[in-house]
């Protein structure tokens, strides 16, 4: 038998025997960031379409909720930092090659945009500004959503994350979770149907992106193929296929089109599954990425 054995005499915490630097905080932050990104795009879209003038529209309730959820996400991110009292160092520089630095500055722009949308909702801003603010929210939401994925793909040493597709994948996942949430919150019939239909489109696109993501991995080098194996027989197989793909994508994709055509009753089940699936996706990707390596 051909022998190939490597023994590393090193036992650094969080590094050995396998990298584990990120626990629940980062997946939760990435999920909430993506959800808020989706809410900004969808809420912004409603403002652009003039729903700001409808008192019943769900777009009036989104900005405050988005601010609260984003702040929760930022709290999770802060809890993860190991050198907390230097957190302000993020804002004494702009590092052009670091997605995290981009993210820190994007977050700084996202808050005022959400506050502006909140003021529109309260009726304190001129309605003709509503359209502009809607566009701004859509643009910043897209940036925020993509950044949450690119953040991981820039970490070269983890083959699973070395795909620019993580950006669009997380954006779409954020959009589908947001559409599900907005659908749950909407009172206006037209808006309810709009977001359920939109959610179906987002989920279908997400499924396609996932397939492309895996195709990219398996058609690349040995280490990328091994990273993909984490989901095909590896330790994350059940979690990924049951929770992310099965319950989070496929089941809602079956239920929701039927609900749109009134074949089954409108319930909260499918939207809740979509939201839970979005959270599961972040956990699975963050954990799997840390398990993948070049050695």
């Amino acid at each position: 038998m051909e022998l190939s054995e490597i023994t590393v005499h090193r036992m650094n915490p969080q590094i050995d025997p396998g990298l584990h630097v990120w626990g629940w905080e980062i997946p939760v932050y990435l999920f909430l960031g993506g959800l808020v990104a989706g809410m900004m795009i969808l809420g912004g879209h409603l403002l652009v379409r003039g729903h700001g003038r409808r008192p019943q529209s769900v777009c009036h309730r989104l900005p405050a909720l988005a601010i609260a959820l984003l702040s929760l996400g930022m709290l999770a991110l802060f809890l993860d930092l190991e050198h907390k009292r230097f957190v302000w160092r993020l804002y004494t520089t702009f590092e052009i090659t670091s997605p995290m630095s981009w993210g820190a500055w994007i977050l700084l722009l996202v808050y005022p945009a959400l506050v502006a949308a909140f003021l529109v909702a309260r009726g304190t801003l001129r309605p003709d500004l509503a359209r502009r603010i809607g566009q701004l929210n859509m643009a910043l939401g897209a940036l925020l959503g993509i950044y949450t994925g690119i953040l991981l793909s820039a970490l070269g040493a983890r083959p699973l994350w070395n795909s620019a597709l993580l950006g669009p994948l997380f954006l779409l996942s954020g959009l589908s979770s947001a559409a599900a949430l907005v659908h749950l919150l909407a009172r206006d019939r037209e808006e309810q149907t709009l977001f359920m239909k939109a959610d179906n489109a987002f989920l279908a696109t997400e499924l396609v992106l996932l397939v492309l993501f895996f195709l990219g991995l398996v058609s690349s080098t040995r280490v990328h193929l091994e990273a993909a194996r984490l989901f095909f027989g590896g330790p994350l197989t059940a979690l990924f296929w049951v929770f992310v793909v099965g319950l989070g994508l496929v089941v809602p994709l079956v239920i929701q089109p039927l609900a749109v055509r009134h074949r089954v009753a409108h319930t909260a089940v499918a939207p809740l599954l979509v939201i839970a699936g979005g959270l599961a996706l972040r956990f699975v990707i963050v954990y799997a990425g840390q398990m993948s390596h070049w050695r």
Binding site: L3, K84, G156, R158
Partner: protein, 180 residues
Amino acid sequence: MARYGMVIDTARCVGCMDCVVACKTENGVPDGYCRDWITEEARGRFPTVHLEIRSERCNHCDNPPCVTCCPTGASHVEAGLGRIVLVTHDVCIGCKACLASCPYDARFIHPEGYADKCTFCAHRIQKGEDPACVAVCPTRCMHFGDLDDPHSEVSRLLEARRNHALLPEAGTGPRIFFLT
């Protein structure tokens, strides 16, 4: 401009770990952590098994992903000191992006919260001394110097002997070479 690196002769290294102890003492590395370590790699088919013992540490890469991903600039290339890769402790927020980005797992979070790793003993090389691990090695298997200077000891060794770096395929441009 200098480009510091190391050349380590695996034909001489016996894995005594003096380099590990020297580093811990010289740099006050806390208990339970290490900036350099020994790796043993056995390959082949019995009875022709080949064992390579390596003293490993941060490779002070030419293309360091730990620097490009750092959001604060704490991880940086010290241009004035042989382009070695250093971390400024009171700029680091402990986000751990650099730990996740290093294919060699060379970094860790110091108990005080900042990212830490081998510095090539910056405080010693500034004075023209060798890093502690190099200075202490009883088999004299480690060599430190300027890879860009064709007359340096490291350049001459790389010219004369067969050698390899770790995971060159990861694209980081590692600057620690192992003579075989």
